[in-house]
Subunit: 558 residues, 2 copies
């Protein structure tokens, strides 16, 4: 193979093993790939040749083939809005035994193409998360040997239309989700993929167990590194586990259909109003963490590092209880398994009457509802993830455990870990505490409250009895922080004092501080990263797995 | 009043009348306000004095007052998470006749405070969209003249807790939403607002009819200009119309509970998966419109001007049907009633089998469902908007009208308006066509399809029969465009050719174009601006009314 050509799937995948497998792989491959992408002319040329030869093959035989009309490329006009034919396509997920003997029209992706002989071939078609086995076998009514040949020279991942008869095999089918077969009578290619995919879906879908098994039998399987996956994300997200991950994320966000007949959504049913706050803001956001800066029509601006200030302003505007699902931007240089430069924040802010435990109560009930719902309604998706990335189900209590920071410190101390009682916990200590809590309370999900004031943002309300502590909390899943929340300061004088003490230039947040001068209710709230919820619920090892097109300090594309 | 002090409500409001009232007002006031904000020390000082004197007044009389415990400022600890008292607050919206004779505890905003005598005062308390009349009258069990005095020196918009007995007056109450009165027994101030608000809620809530009536009787009412409203958005959004606007927006977004028992959400029930695409992207987005540029860790980046490329990539990734609700950024210098630099986009993308009318069909059913739902389930909110901004209900058909661009041109021609048959329509012509369509078809909502290719983005699929036209459509409400949609090009070669023809640097979108090489299904989609849907459904005159904290070329704050 000429060096100017793109690597085949196995080449690309093997090179990625040189880096850190399935983790924060190095950039070796990325450079190669960049080169490759720049040289796609060669690829295209070859593709056109392949395509042309396939068509030629078909044309050659077509002359002598009485069933030539039963297969071939779909003319572009037919998928270019020429006419509404009225034909009815059946979804692959809907192919079940009760359709036995009936003719169906399906459109799917040719996931695998397996020639058996010149007279027979098997195809597995995929649509979304469903797959079905199709059999193409020469007969006297519709299928010719030329048609079988046409099928076997299709490139994997091409889009095809199949007309066929449903049948139910005697033995259960293990390789597909649907327990029926389709006897192909017509087969058309809607869109042909390139012959050599940068990654193979089967490779990308393998579990560690598959690798272990293969190793025992001396077979070397291709391993697709995390970086390669992200470079070819469009292929990577076609795996069952990835299809499931983003369906689960969507489900969590649909915060959250309480299990049950009425399908009431949790936040809505609690009287929360969904809002959208601006992401382009003046000044330097909340200070502290690094922000992305830009020029806004001649004014210095930055991207909001959270909707914090604006959701509080919405509370001052009389909305009572608000939530927002939206993009959050962090210019931090954190290159870890759990940080992104852009993620989806679920933010909640609410009036409280007297205690920030009113906020903790919403966290408790919301997340127990989310977890219950996932376990009850996303079994298929959780199974798909489990097959590739096995994990223990999350342990959580009906009433979420609440510990104080001081109690946490004490537990650590008793376990021999000394921690600064007025400092923050680091990731390692948090994990350790998570293990201790699991041992003692049998839960992977708990709230740690009353954090030292010094480690919380300036707008956090100090404790009434000890200003070294604050009315704040973090929430942990499997020992990792996913939620931060607190009562906020609603008194403009105290807010100004605290902002100044934290080194914030109060002039840049004057409209925020002024919002509390016109009658401001006591309030609190919290923020969650959507990607982290899914990552930790499923015990995935990298947040890039739960971000559709992740952004980190080194990745801005695709 | 010293010049260093902030203007009172009437001053601020009157100055804004100098600009364009209730419209795109000039910047005269903004400068004044900037000055004012910088000088808030003076304000704070005065506030503290006022607060101190109020407390003093109370203290003076408290000594001689046997009912001193029944009123006063709530000590900060009590709203600083000291304890969970177990007291139960009733929502103002829940105060109804059946509670007559019962004692309730409510927290609300002191919207109006009207002293009648030294022994009696009326308060109207507001919570979210509900208001209730409260009566404070000296008696022998709990209310002293000092308590009445305490009430009358409260500043409007302060947050108060009231304990009182519910009664039902003989005559209906016209000024509040709740048809009961609260006989106040205890009254505590939770948070005191400044004595002189920059805008009064009553002023901000007036309709044109109120102004007309007042003018007839020779009364001059204060008019709050759009710019002043946005400067003090936290106060402005407390009006009933604004509370309703953002509740309706949330309802539309909750796309969209189909009216009916099961509360199935429309897009979800149609098999769409909600996704989140990155807003930080490499290169120059889709080209064309101006983008906000920024530095991303040393790489040139910009803010996505739509999720277009990424939602198509999600389709190539096998999700079948996706939608996204998220921020969209446009650096255009459009300073009109209908453009924002940042808005909320509802984007949909879906596989199609053969015709882009499959996309139009989703638009049709989705929006008819949304409109039905708003009319059925948001009556209270629509009434609140109607009281301040009267509008005719939207006319729409059960099956949405679809006209071709050529038919539209012909209708305009017959009405004496000559339009370039291969050019775009301008705002004025669109409005004219909207009127013609309304006359002929009795609808304010219709789809115009088959636009000239030259006026559509590069990724738009040309028509099969005439490459001067495209498989695209716009959708109009009341003669204004709210939706753009089309079939997309799923063939990488054609996509490259079209991008080059449109002057796009294809290198910057190579990962997008490559996505179509791995088996790409025919697909189409559309995008909607959430703010425009609400603006046009309610026939509001300015998109700033439906954006919580709007961003335009001149506004980056609050």
């Amino acid at each position: 193979m000429a060096s100017s050509e793109p690597p085949t799937a196995s080449q690309a995948s093997l090179s990625s093993v040189d880096g850190v497998a399935d983790d924060l792989a190095g950039t070796t491959l990325s450079k190669k790939q960049a080169k490759k992408l720049a040289k796609k002319e060669a690829k295209e040329e070859r593709k056109q040749q392949t395509s042309a030869s396939a068509t030629a093959a078909q044309d050659d035989s077509a002359e002598a083939d009485p069933f030539a009309a039963n297969y071939g490329e779909v003319p572009i006009e037919e998928i270019q809005s020429k006419a509404v034919s009225g034909r009815v396509w059946t979804e692959i997920g809907a192919l079940e035994g009760q359709l036995s003997g009936q003719s169906v029209l399906i459109r799917g992706v040719a996931q695998t193409i397996r020639p058996v002989s010149k007279k027979m071939a098997f195809l597995v078609l995929r649509q979304f998360t469903s797959t079905v086995q199709c059999v193409l076998s020469v007969d006297k009514e519709s299928v010719s040997p030329q048609m079988v040949k046409f099928a076997t020279v299709l490139n994997k991942e091409s889009i095809v239309d199949v007309e066929g008869i449903i049948s139910v095999p005697k033995d259960p089918i293990t390789g597909t989700t649907q327990q029926v077969e389709v006897q192909i009578k017509k087969l058309y290619c809607v869109n042909r993929s390139v012959p050599n995919l940068p990654i193979n879906i089967e490779d990308a879908a393998r579990s560690e167990k598959d690798f272990e098994k293969a190793e025992q039998t001396g077979v070397q399987l291709v391993r697709v590194g995390q970086d390669t996956r992200l470079n070819y994300r469009v292929l990577d997200i076609r795996t069952p586990a990835n299809q499931a991950i983003f369906r689960i994320q969507c489900h969590v966000e649909d915060v959250s259909s309480l299990a049950g007949f009425l399908q009431m959504r949790f936040l809505r049913s609690e009287g929360f109003v969904g809002i959208h706050s601006p992401k382009l803001i003046a000044g330097s956001s909340e200070g502290g963490a690094a922000v992305f800066k830009l020029d806004y029509k001649g004014q210095p601006a930055c991207l909001a590092q959270s909707p914090q200030l604006y959701k509080q302003m919405a509370i001052c505007g009389g909305f009572g209880r608000v939530f927002e699902v939206g993009s959050v931007f962090r210019a931090e240089d954190s290159y870890t398994h759990r940080h992104l430069c852009e993620f989806v924040g679920l933010d909640v802010e609410m009036e409280i009457k007297e205690h920030y435990f009113e906020v903790c109560d919403i966290v408790d009930r919301l997340f127990v509802a989310i977890f219950d719902d996932l376990n009850e309604n996303c079994k298929t998706e959780l199974d798909a993830i489990n097959r590739q990335y096995p994990f223990e189900p999350l342990k959580y209590l009906r009433k979420t455990l609440k510990l104080t920071f001081e109690e946490g410190i004490q537990m650590l101390k008793e376990a021999g870990v000394e921690v600064d009682p007025l400092g923050d916990l680091n990731t390692e200590t948090e994990r350790k505490l998570g293990r201790l809590v699991r041992e003692k309370y049998d839960t992977d999900f708990y709230i740690l409250c009353r954090y030292p004031l010094a480690v919380r943002p300036f707008y956090t309300m100090p404790c009434y009895d000890n200003p070294a502590y604050s009315n704040s909390f973090d929430v942990f899943i499997r020992g990792e922080e996913i939620i931060s929340g607190a009562q906020r300061i609603h008194l403009p004088e105290l807010l100004t004092t605290r902002a100044e003490a934290c080194g914030i230039d109060v002039k840049t947040i004057s409209s925020y501080i002024d919002s509390f001068r016109y009658g401001a209710p006591p309030h609190g709230g919290f923020g969650v990263g959507l990607e982290r919820v899914v990552m930790l619920f499923c015990a995935l090892n990298n947040i890039r797995k739960t971000s559709l097109f992740p952004r980190d300090p080194q990745r801005l594309t695709p």
